[in-house]
């Protein structure tokens, strides 16, 4: 299991934007919005049991 995960107890997967302006459009803000959107809409797991076939996409 990736070490980033095992050490991630205190660090959440949610960027802290709750006090940032709604209309901000900096690159870092857009990245935070995208990260939250991806997390909520396309929740992915840890990969503990993942598998995928390379010869198709």
């Amino acid at each position: 299991m990736p070490s980033t995960l095992t050490q991630s107890g205190p660090q959440t997967q949610v960027p802290d934007v709750h006090n940032l302006p709604l209309g901000e459009r900096s690159e870092e803000r857009l990245s935070a919005t995208a990260a939250i959107r991806e997390r909520v809409l396309r929740k992915t797991g840890s990969g503990v049991t993942a598998a995928a076939f390379q010869s198709s996409i």
Binding site: S8, V48, Q54, S56
Partner: protein
């Protein structure tokens, strides 16, 4: 215990429809590498074999209670199977397999025969289409030619242009590109990007230590190894372009660095869960092994005589499921092993030592990973907004089933971030010419001038439900009846702030809903309306040429036939908003009730008072957390007599759906049960506790049907509180009720302990998820030793055995 035996079940079935190809690519692992087994195979899969395969898949799926499987149509060239036979196969599989599991079809093709007839067929059966293309014409022609030497490039591009047509675009899975370092990486990237694939992958050409890859083309003594140099050149260009489409290799490395799953078997330590079925029905391991030596992929099994379980237990397949432990010592000691996973299994082969070697591309993969990691670190340092920080102390206290005002209160900030960004995502999707573009601009302005009021409005639990519903339809612009929520949010904020705004509305379900304030019931079909708020805290909603006046100061108290204020239930220090008008509230497992009558609202308040009094007196550890995190009651439609109904919704933080229970203590039980889900949903937003790729179903003692892992986790956490409730009731109840409560306590402590064990055995919890389960187990442990009467203990044991027996009987019936 997991439903099936202890093999890792197959979830990906690579089905060879045709064993020949209409191209003669000289880099193909099927025909041009060590394995020559294709020569002895039937040309095409027979009907008999197809039927047997479908039955074997059903057998395996039922045995392992798999919720979803993927069948990849492959070859040779699968389109050589022809449209008619392919239709027959897809129909057969859909008919036989879909009663038991969700079935995803994919096809991977060279696309030279891909035409509208095939695409119409694939649209009918929802078959995603992946295409091989190695770059621009010169790059593609290097290998991907007909036997005559003729280029296949123009025909592939024609097929890709068909796939991009709106009617087929949803089928377009992406492009696989096998790299050749003689090609220019920038031109290959541009050629792929020009085809606008939703995703692509760059495959290293198959090679082993005995048959090493081509090198010496772009040698740079001071630079990275050649394949790393080629791939990182593409990576840098792709990153500079803003990552316009997914590239599986790069996304997998970035994802694994952040604790997410790999998207390909060629990277990461995830176990292989795929099987290849040849045209004669024989079962093989990943077919890239054909590059290693003749017969390398063979298992000796076939669908006529053997089950998939037998193949899954084959030593060659289990060898690829052992994670880092199954790798050679060099790999195990490598700092990037968790990311590369040793590389593609076939690329590790060397005569004599077999697969116990690093990949023949080891240095390239390592250099590529280090390059991407450096870039990700730099980007993170330059651009990333820091995440919310939790604490393990909070985590452990919540995992124990409790959590007070502070711990639960701290779950709120990440929720506020999530709702805020989802609303922002919707707002930025509003077409510039939409009348609701003004609503978004007003919301942005109000956020600057009145952030506290907007924060209070956004705390309404169903705003996130609305945003998720809009955003889940990624390829559709939001409609007016959805965008009206932006106006409603802005208008509610303006009313609370004493700001003057004028905004368009759209009547939805006959309602104009002002979150946290109330709703105007207009009835009738969806239609435009408008709202004007004024600085004196009044507003006018205009619909059908009629003005409806609202005064905020009176809004909460002056209900009439049209104005339905948001009411609050109050009981001592408890206060719950009642949500019985929001069109988005009906997202719980059970249908929402209509607007409560005043009598019903009073009855609810009385019942809440009784529940609060019970909890404050008998379960005092719970109320502080409940008061901090439970904000909203959403009344559910009445259930059949004798049943209690309650439910939370994944995206409605703070809301509980409840049908009116019979008494206060029952409401207390339902509240603490559902509040566990609310807390756990918030934690699942914050942390990865389990692997969502685990699609197995598990025994959950409180359900008749097998449950996915999250369902088991949610239920276990909820029943931790349920067990505590019955523990308390068994001490307090009058003698006549004591034994019934004791039985419940004894039963649920056994069930919950069993469920904790089931979670820990799953192998699919993350390190943090395992910690969560262990803390639940620790909280439960002392209760297991608490004495109960002999009669109650025996009755509980009997109930537990009966539940388990019924489950096993159902499982056997399904498997049979």
């Amino acid at each position: 215990m997991v439903a099936g035996p202890a093999v890792l079940p197959f979830r990906h079935y690579v089905l060879k429809l045709h064993s020949r190809c209409d191209l003669a690519c000289d880099h193909c692992y099927v025909y041009e590498h060590a394995d020559q087994s294709w020569r002895g195979r039937p040309l095409a899969l027979s009907e008999e074999a197809a039927a047997r395969i479908a039955d074997r898949i059903v057998e395996h799926t039922v045995r392992h209670t798999l919720g979803r499987i993927t069948v990849v149509l492959h070859g040779g060239e699968p389109l050589l199977y022809g449209a008619e036979r392919t239709r027959a196969l897809l129909s057969l599989f859909r008919e036989r397999i879909t009663p038991y599991t969700k079935l995803d079809f994919r096809i991977h093709t060279n696309a030279v025969r891909l035409d509208r007839d095939f695409l119409d067929l694939f649209a009918e059966f929802a078959v995603s289409v992946g295409v091989s293309l190695d770059g621009d014409r010169s790059a593609n022609d290097l290998h991907r030619r007909y036997a005559s030497g003729r280029s296949s490039h123009s025909r592939v591009l024609s097929a890709l242009s068909l796939l991009r047509e709106p009617r087929y675009r949803h089928l377009y899975a992406g492009i696989l590109c096998t790299i050749d370092i003689r090609n220019d990486p920038g031109r290959v990237y541009e050629a792929l990007a020009a085809e606008q694939p939703p995703r692509a992958d760059l495959l290293l050409p198959h090679a082993t230590w005995d048959h090493p890859p081509l090198r010496g083309v772009r040698r740079d003594e001071h630079g990275p190894p050649e394949y790393a140099a080629w791939l990182t050149a593409v990576y840098d260009r792709w990153a500079k372009d803003g990552r316009p489409f997914a590239i599986r290799t790069f996304d997998s490395i970035s994802g694994i660095l952040r604790g997410r799953p790999s998207q390909t078997e060629s990277l990461g330590l995830a176990p292989a869960a795929l099987v290849v079925i040849e045209t004669d029905g024989s079962l093989e391991q990943a077919d890239s092994l054909k590059t290693a030596y003749d017969g390398a992929g063979a298992t000796g099994f076939n669908v006529f005589e053997h089950s998939f379980d037998q193949a899954a237990a084959h030593a060659g397949i289990t060898a690829r499921q052992g994670g880092a432990e199954s790798l050679c010592a060099t790999c195990r000691a490598c700092p990037v092993v968790e990311i590369c996973g040793g590389g593609l299994y076939a690329h590790r082969h060397r005569a004599g030592s077999g697969f116990a070697n690093p990949s023949v591309y080891c240095e390239d993969i390592k250099a590529m990973i280090e390059h991407i990691e450096r870039d990700e670190t730099r980007r993170h340092a330059e651009a990333a907004i820091a995440p919310h920080v939790g604490s393990l102390r909070d985590f452990d206290l919540l995992a124990s089933g409790l959590g007070g005002e502070d711990e639960v209160g701290r779950l709120g900030a990440p929720q506020r971030s999530i709702t805020r960004e989802l609303v922002k995502s919707v707002g930025e999707q509003v077409p510039p010419r939409s009348p609701f573009a003004a609503a978004w601009q007003e919301l942005v302005r109000l956020d600057q001038s009145n952030p506290a009021q907007l924060g209070a409005v956004l705390a309404d639990p169903y705003t996130r439900v609305w945003a998720v519903r809009v955003l889940q339809r990624e390829h559709e612009a939001p409609a007016d009846d959805e965008l009206t929520r932006l106006s409603e949010l802005a208008a509610a904020t303006a009313l609370l702030s004493g700001e003057a705004v004028r905004l368009p509305l759209h009547v939805v379900d006959g309602i104009v809903h002002l979150p946290t304030i109330g709703a105007l019931a207009l009835g009738g079909p969806a239609r435009p309306a408008a709202i004007e708020t004024r600085k004196d805290g009044t507003a006018t909603i205009t619909a059908d040429l009629t003005d409806y006046e609202i005064c905020l100061a009176e809004a909460a108290v002056r209900a009439d036939a049209r104005w339905l204020p948001t009411r609050s239930l109050r009981a001592g220090s408890w206060s719950l908003a009642v949500q019985d008008t929001d069109p988005y509230r009906d997202c719980h497992q059970w249908p929402a009730a209509g607007r409560l009558s005043d009598d019903e609202a009073r009855h609810w308040e009385q019942c809440l008072g009784e529940a609060a009094a019970f909890l404050e007196e008998s379960m005092p550890a719970y109320p502080p957390g409940l008061r901090a995190g439970l904000s909203t009651l959403m009344p559910l439609a009445p259930p059949p007599a004798g049943r209690d109904l309650s439910a939370t919704a994944r995206h409605a933080y703070g809301a509980v759906g409840l049908a009116m229970p019979g008494d206060g203590p029952t409401l207390a039980l339902l509240l603490i049960h559902e509040f566990q889900h609310i807390k756990l949903n918030a934690l699942l937003d914050m942390y990865d506790l389990y692997d969502t790729n685990d699609e197995r179903r598990y025994y959950a003692p409180w359900r008749d049907d097998p449950r996915p892992l999250e369902g088991l986790l949610q239920g276990t956490y909820a029943h931790l509180a349920v067990t505590d409730y019955w523990r308390v009731r068994s001490r307090e109840s009058a003698a006549a009720q004591r034994e019934a409560a004791e039985i419940q306590f004894a039963r649920w402590r056994l069930h919950t302990a069993e469920a904790v064990e089931e979670l820990l055995r799953s192998g699919s919890l993350t390190a943090l998820g395992e910690r969560f389960a262990r803390v639940m187990g620790d909280a439960l442990a002392p209760w297991l030793d608490e004495p109960v009467g002999h009669g109650a203990a025996a009755a509980a044991q009997q109930a537990v055995q009966a539940d388990r027996g019924a489950w096993q009987a159902r499982r056997q019936a399904n498997a049979g």
